[in-house]
């Protein structure tokens, strides 16, 4: 009674093999991240200091620090977020709450998906044509930020749409049913409940744009500038671009410099992403359903 048959034993062996294969795959996924971080720390840590963060690069970028690149990245990220967040969230709200599910809506959704698949270098060329030349912004922080914003829009719209979809339809129905308008429903029911998800998506987009290089290449970032940007119409330096420059374009850079720069960039993005994880778990504990 209750002894396993051969067939059942085989089944269990296959089950275990499958599970093992999956866990090995997952481990390999995790491994590169671990190795990259480890390597960067080993190679970059000796140079990393407060001076490195707060000094200008000197002697043809072969010595000194990376301060202007941090400033530049900061401005690029902030301005692009200010542009793309309202646009993206509002567009997603329209698509999710107002647009009838017709052919036009489907085409718009498809266009957004395609926009997400456009390579960043193509975004850069678009930004060069549209913002730098046509709108006469010149190569400037503004043009580069706008380009980053366009690149981030599909990501933000998609993640916002997902968060809005996660709010059960019955909540909306309940609200309409007592005669609330769509706007009232969005304000009191939909947004409060999708807010954590929307925020997470936004913060991830910020992290992505902090590391972006190609999109800002022709639109507002310089290899080297002897001064900090004075307004949004100036060019700036950026961490990602600087990393590219001192790794491949400049002779005589000490080996540790690119590693330290990469470490700063990665730590920046990691900390932005952990903020989003923290926010998410904070709001989840406060959720009422």
């Amino acid at each position: 009674m209750f002894k396993p048959s051969i067939h059942l034993l085989n089944k269990e062996i296959r089950e275990n093999n499958f599970k093992g294969a999956l866990s090995i795959m997952t481990f390999f996924l995790f491994l590169p991240a671990l190795i990259i971080m480890f390597w960067l720390f080993i190679k970059g840590l000796p140079v990393l200091s407060l001076d490195f963060l707060l000094q200008d690069p000197i002697r043809g970028m072969t010595a000194g620090g990376i301060f202007p690149t941090i400033v530049g990245t900061f401005w690029l990220v902030i301005i692009s977020v200010l542009v793309s967040c309202p646009l993206g969230v509002l567009a997603a709200l329209y698509l999710s709450e107002y647009a009838a599910d017709g052919r036009t809506t489907r085409i718009i959704r498809l266009a957004i998906l395609n926009l997400a698949g456009v390579p960043s270098i193509v975004h850069a060329l678009f930004g060069l044509g549209a913002f730098v030349l046509f709108l006469r912004m010149g190569t400037s922080i503004l043009a580069a930020s706008f380009t980053l914003a366009v690149m981030n829009l599909p990501v933000i719209i998609t993640s916002t749409l997902e968060s809005l979809k996660a709010v059960p339809h019955s909540f909306r129905e309940a609200s309409w049913n007592v005669g609330a308008s769509k706007l009232q429903t969005i304000r009191h029911i939909v947004l409060p409940n999708s807010f954590p998800g929307i925020l997470t998506g936004l913060v991830f987009a910020v992290g992505r744009s902090a590391g972006e290089t190609a999109a800002i290449l022709f639109t507002g970032v310089a290899f080297y500038l002897p001064f900090l940007p004075q307004s949004v119409f100036d060019q700036c330096m950026s961490l990602s671009m600087h990393l590219f420059t001192i790794s491949t374009q400049v002779v005589g850079v000490p080996e540790a410099y690119p590693y330290a720069t990469a470490l700063v960039l990665i730590l920046l993005i990691l900390s932005i992403n952990s903020i989003s994880v923290l926010l998410r778990s904070y709001f989840r504990t406060r959720r009422k359903w």
Binding site: A174, W176, V178, I189
Partner: protein
């Protein structure tokens, strides 16, 4: 005798699918009217037409007319929020909003009035919860999330949140199908008690429930009205063969 609902040759389509076919009948005010019939017979569709909650996301069209307390609800000047304020619906699955118990009850009032005093809101909560028999139980828990209540209490709350809006007609779409027997009994007692102040239409799959709570019963089949009469008469001496077959459980 005043009527809560008059329908005149009313037909309704979702896209190309005709869900209701030429319905003509009158539902009396201050009555409980039960809608019965097999799944897909159109009883829920008809209920949803009464506050026009089924017009979102799909293409719908209609012919004929429905009057609620003598007013055509498909007239172009009808404001849907106002219609829904006066014709409230309770859904099959209790759907309290993700807010506190207090905020659930006053949600409707807040959306309809520009400024309401806190004292008025407090009063609303007390009156409404008393009316559904939950005030004693909940008066110290008003700031707890409504979604933490038992299903039966959630359903009571869903009824309570309609009351501050002073509705004239209450639509109940299988309000007990998610509840256990004790919950069903409690809600049925509440429904019979609410009849004093409101006209009520209830869609139900349970024939015993229709017998227990309703004054009149409408039997629908394939989008058509088959028979409508006093509940007792319909169940004891059905005039139509299909009604008899359905209530004896021979189909549907």
């Amino acid at each position: 005798m005043s009527f809560a609902v008059n329908t005149n040759d009313f037909s309704f389509w979702y896209g190309n699918f005709q869900a209701l076919k030429g319905l003509t009948f009158n539902i009396q005010a201050h009555n409980i009217t039960a809608l019965i019939g097999p799944s897909g017979c159109g009883k829920s569709t008809f209920l949803k037409c009464l506050n026009r909650i089924n017009e979102r996301g799909t293409t719908v069209s209609h012919e004929g007319s429905i009057q609620v307390f003598g007013h055509d609800i498909y007239h172009p000047t009808v404001a849907l929020p106002e219609l829904r304020r006066q014709v409230g619906m309770v859904f099959q699955k209790p759907n309290p909003m993700p807010l506190t118990i207090y905020e659930n009850v006053v949600f409707g009032a807040r959306t309809h009035m520009r400024k309401v005093k806190n004292a008025e809101l407090d009063q609303m909560v007390e009156t409404s919860l008393k009316r559904v028999g939950m005030w004693e139980d909940l008066k110290d828990k008003l700031n707890r999330p409504a979604t933490g209540l038992s299903l039966e209490k959630q359903q009571r709350l869903c009824i309570a949140r309609l009351l501050p809006l002073k509705p004239k007609l209450l639509l109940l779409d299988e309000p007990c199908s998610a509840l256990d027997p004790a919950g069903i009994e409690a809600i049925e007692i509440l429904i019979r008690d609410l009849k004093r102040d409101y006209s009520i239409i209830i869609v139900t799959h349970s024939m015993s429930q229709a017998k227990r709570v309703s004054d009149e019963t409408i039997f629908m089949y394939m989008g058509e009205l088959i028979e409508m009469s006093q509940t007792k008469a319909l169940f004891e001496t059905p005039k139509e063969e299909r009604t008899a077959a359905y209530i004896e459980g021979r189909f549907g």
